[in-house]
């Protein structure tokens, strides 16, 4: 029998306890495990994969770890258990690192400074596939696609007109609900666009990595 687990990668003990409390309330069915460093996280990911008993359903990853980057933890996780929902936890909306973690397979991000109730809500929504997007990250996603759409003809790797429109409005500071009003859509439709944007970003960056590897003769 598998034991669904939430892995919290966080070097600050108080914050880890704080996050564990929120996860406990939001997802009581998940067993919470804590890793305080990249090495510990790596060990736990390997352990879970080999034992096949503790499936990592959810991972909250802090990007700045004492012995490495959270980005590498995300890389390990997407390799070991692709079905897990990876959420980046960060003190600041550091746009570059958030964008990078999204391209590596993170499904969303939360700011640890938000009130616990809000974090709880965000976690639930991300896990349901309704991630939020900040204007600064939206601008980066837009730039990324406008740069890389020239490289591929595959519609799976490109944004649709509606998705692009959504991103542009978010980049101007509108929330998902406001985008829906602006475009005359249901809020759920906009949320699904954002979800698709996240997926395409991930697919696109994987495809790009593959193309790069082929170009460099690695594959």
């Amino acid at each position: 029998m598998t034991n669904a687990t939430c892995l919290i990668v966080e070097d600050n003990h108080q914050t880890a306890v704080f996050l564990a409390g929120i996860v406990g309330r939001a997802f009581p069915e998940l067993a919470v495990r804590h890793a305080a460093s990249f090495a510990e996280a790596k060990g736990m990911i390997a352990l879970c994969r080999n034992a096949r008993q503790a499936q990592i359903e959810l991972a909250l990853v802090d990007l700045s770890l004492p012995d490495g980057s959270g980005l590498d933890v995300i890389g390990q996780l997407t390799g070991a258990s692709p079905q897990s929902t990876i959420i980046v936890t960060t003190t600041f909306a550091d746009d570059d690192s958030i964008f990078q973690s999204l391209t590596r397979g993170a499904r969303g991000y939360i700011l640890k400074s938000e009130p616990p109730a809000m974090i709880e809500q965000l976690l639930i929504r991300i896990r349901q596939g309704e991630p939020s997007l900040s204007p600064a990250v939206a601008i980066r996603v837009l730039n990324y696609f406008s740069r890389h759409s020239r490289l591929t003809e595959d519609p799976v790797e490109q944004l649709s007109a509606r998705e692009t429109e959504t991103l542009k409005l978010i980049a101007k500071g509108l929330t998902a609900a406001e985008v829906a009003t602006e475009l005359g859509l249901k809020p759920q439709t906009v949320t699904s666009y954002i979800k698709v944007i996240y997926q395409k970003l991930n697919i696109n960056s994987r495809a790009e990595a593959a193309r790069e590897a082929i170009r460099m003769g690695l594959i």
Partner: protein, 731 residues
């Protein structure tokens, strides 16, 4: 410059040919000198009126020494022919009269014939009342016995010819170079011919003497006339080439007239023509100097020509006039004076070859100062002796003192006059300007200042952009241009015409430009290294602030109650802005507004308050927002939103942004029912904070309470400033 047609002959090849020819001629001169009969006797000379034929020295191993002739004897006759004082004359020119010269030459021929016979009879007075008869077998003059006087003249001729030959090799099609060569050839001909007969032992063959004498006349007259012709066409042509060339017929005609015996007094064909030619040359030189005022290249050439004239004058004064002035008789043979031609032609050659005319400043001017000093010394000495009737030694000492102390201050004035830099700006100022240029952050402005500095320092006629310029400073078009390569200050340029076209760019100018560029480069490097270091340090502080302080605030936040938490949250937002600013983050206006809008929208949405904030159009919002403005505006808007959530009771908020007239205005209006009450009393603490923050950055905050709600108007100065170049940033 004239196009050069080498005809398969490069300048160096031509130079070799010319030098070889000059050397061959010089060797012919030696060969001719070696055929002269030689006894080994030296005589007192014409200056000693009593006994000019008194033997003063007998050469070792000479026929005379072997025959036992001793110094102190006086030669009376050769083969029964009595000797006269005039037979000892170095140059028959001095006799002037055709008949006297003819008689002199006939006697020379007669003696020479006797000297070549075996056992020629020499009769001496032995100084003790007796006479002695000696029979001598004369030999050809041995090489070692040619004497210093001969060699000085030989070298002077060769040197003049070689200098002119060099010019001709460099500029073979140049008419001025040809005239110079003709002048120098004349000089060489004159010097070499006189070298043979002035250093004769007793007599040389009459026919040879006659030819040499005519050649001597032809040579010196050609020298003077060709020099005058040169100044008639160079640097500025006053007459046509053919007119100048026609002048050269004069010496030829004069020589034909002499040879044909139609000249009674050689002063007409020699002294008059030489003196006249040189006088005309001097007048022409002054005229050339006048017309070259606006032509720096011609000016530089004329400086060299004057320098040569002056040097020859000083040389002449030192060798010929000074000794006689100081009571020593003029015993220096005229041959030694021929060395002046070397001095003379070196300067003229440089002027005509236009060889590095721009570097005159470096050493030729110094030479000029010494020459001027020497001339002053000479003139003062002459004046003191002749006018003040001072003792010659005392006069010389006083002249030396006066020139030593008086001439030095004069030098700097002469220097300025010569270099043509009327408004010499000090290079110190140039360097000060250069450091300012390096510190100028905007490239266009930097280039503008660099050009302004070049203009002030060199005062060129124009500054042109240089295409494909070499990476080094160099002087182009013989000093008319200074090519300055690309540097930190801007693209490569060509400066044309120094000091408004009146002067040539000097080597010192090129050196200054080069030093300036090197200085700016190293100064700029030093500065950017400093900036890099400072940036790296700032980045480190930003990272520490961001990571460490942020993490600590966060963990404090997770253990505290609601009021402290919201305070800490705002602090974290400030730290984010602060560390971003420290790391040199550039936030454009649209990004700043989007983030502010996003934050407000999310917060208001959580409390069920509706927001109307029309997003701005994309264009014209790319200019960066200053960190202080960002911080003040973001906190103020955050505070207003907090106030609305906590105190207003509003359910709708309207935000609009206006930009223009140097101001950025944010208007936040709510429909709070409690606003009217809040307006009666004193403003909230939070609102007073807002007012303070906005005023700190030079803006204004207005709060307008009305029954329909509160309207906050925040206006801050916002200029669309030009973007400076980004600093090098370490990652």
């Amino acid at each position: 410059m004239l196009p050069r047609h080498d005809g398969g002959f490069g300048p160096s090849r031509r130079l070799h040919v010319v030098m070889l020819l000059a050397l061959l001629l010089a060797l012919t001169v030696i060969a001719t000198a070696l055929t002269r009969p030689w006894s080994g006797l030296e005589f007192a000379g014409v200056d000693e009126q009593e006994k000019p034929w008194r033997v003063t020295a007998v050469a070792v191993d000479s026929p005379a020494a072997q025959a036992g002739i001793a110094a102190g004897w006086t030669l009376l006759s050769i083969a029964g022919e009595k000797l006269e004082a005039s037979d000892l004359l170095e140059d028959p020119d001095a006799l002037f009269d055709r008949n006297l010269i003819d008689r002199f030459l006939k006697r020379q021929a007669q003696f020479a014939r006797h000297l070549t016979e075996a056992q020629t009879e020499f009769m001496f007075a032995d100084g003790q009342g007796g006479t002695r008869t000696v029979h001598l077998d004369l030999v050809h003059t041995p090489l070692r016995e040619l004497g210093l006087l001969f060699w000085v003249q030989w070298l002077a001729g060769l040197g003049s010819l070689a200098l002119a030959g060099w010019v001709l090799a460099v500029r073979p099609r140049d008419f001025a170079a040809r005239l110079l060569f003709i002048s120098a050839s004349g000089s060489a001909l004159g010097i070499w011919s006189s070298a043979i007969y002035t250093t004769r032992d007793i007599a040389i063959d009459g026919a040879l003497f006659r030819v040499l004498s005519i050649m001597n006349g032809l040579g010196i007259v050609t020298f003077a006339i060709a020099f005058a012709a040169l100044l008639l066409v160079y640097p500025r042509p006053f007459v046509t080439r053919s007119a100048a060339a026609a002048m050269l017929l004069l010496p030829i005609l004069a020589s034909i007239a002499e040879a044909g015996g139609w000249v009674d007094d050689v002063r007409w064909t020699r002294v008059m023509l030489v003196a006249g030619g040189l006088l005309i040359a001097l007048v022409l030189a002054l005229a050339q100097w006048r017309v070259s005022l606006r032509d720096p290249l011609a000016r530089a050439a004329m400086r060299w020509i004057f320098l040569s004239l002056l040097a020859s004058l000083v040389f002449f004064a030192a060798v010929a006039v000074l000794p006689s002035l100081h009571g020593r008789s003029l015993t220096i043979p005229q041959g030694y004076m021929m060395a002046f031609s070397l001095v003379f032609f070196s300067g003229i050659a440089v002027a005509v070859a236009r060889y590095r005319l721009f570097s005159i400043e470096n050493w030729a001017h110094r030479l000029l100062f010494y020459l001027l000093g020497a001339l002053l010394l000479f003139l003062l000495d002459v004046a003191l002796v002749n006018v003040m009737h001072m003792a010659s030694d005392l006069a010389f000492g006083i002249a030396l003192l006066v020139v030593g102390f008086g001439y030095l201050p004069l030098r700097s004035r002469i220097w300025r006059w010569l270099t043509g830099s009327m408004h010499a700006t000090s290079s110190d100022r140039a360097f000060a300007a250069a450091s300012g240029i390096v510190l100028e952050p905007i490239a266009e402005e930097r280039e503008k200042r660099w050009h302004r500095m070049l203009e002030q320092h060199f005062q060129p006629l124009t500054i042109l952009p240089a295409v494909d310029a070499a990476p080094e400073v160099f002087i182009g078009a013989e000093g008319l241009q200074l090519v300055v390569p690309a540097s930190t200050a801007g693209a490569a340029v060509i400066l044309c015409g120094k000091a408004g076209g009146r002067a040539l760019f000097q080597t010192a100018d090129a050196e200054l430009a080069d030093s300036l560029i090197r200085f700016m480069s190293s100064f700029g490097e030093g500065r950017s290294a400093y900036v890099r270091g400072a940036t790296a340090e700032r980045m480190r502080i930003a990272r520490d602030l961001h990571d460490d302080v942020g993490a600590r605030l966060l963990s404090a936040m997770h253990q505290s109650d609601e009021t402290v938490r919201s305070l800490l949250k705002d602090t974290l937002a400030d730290i984010r802005t602060l560390s971003g600013a420290l790391a040199g983050e550039i936030v454009p206006l649209n990004q700043f507004l989007a983030e502010t809008r996003h934050e407000a929208s999310e917060r208001l949405a959580q409390c069920g308050i509706g927001l109307t904030w029309p997003p701005l159009a994309d264009d014209n919002l790319e200019q960066p927002v200053d960190y202080r403005q960002r911080k003040a505006l973001a906190s103020a808007i955050r505070e207003v939103v907090t106030n609305i959530i906590k105190h207003s009771g509003a359910d709708k908020v309207c935000v609009s942004i206006e930009q223009g007239a140097g101001l950025l205005t944010v208007i936040i209006a709510d429909n709070g029912r409690l606003a009217a009450n809040g307006g009666v009393g004193k403003p909230h603490n939070g609102l007073r904070n807002i007012d303070q923050r906005i005023r700190d950055i030079g803006g204004t905050a207005h709060f307008n309470w009305s029954p329909t709600g509160l309207t906050v108007t925040l206006s801050v100065p916002f200029e669309a400033a030009p973007t400076p170049e980004p600093e090098p940033r370490s990652k």
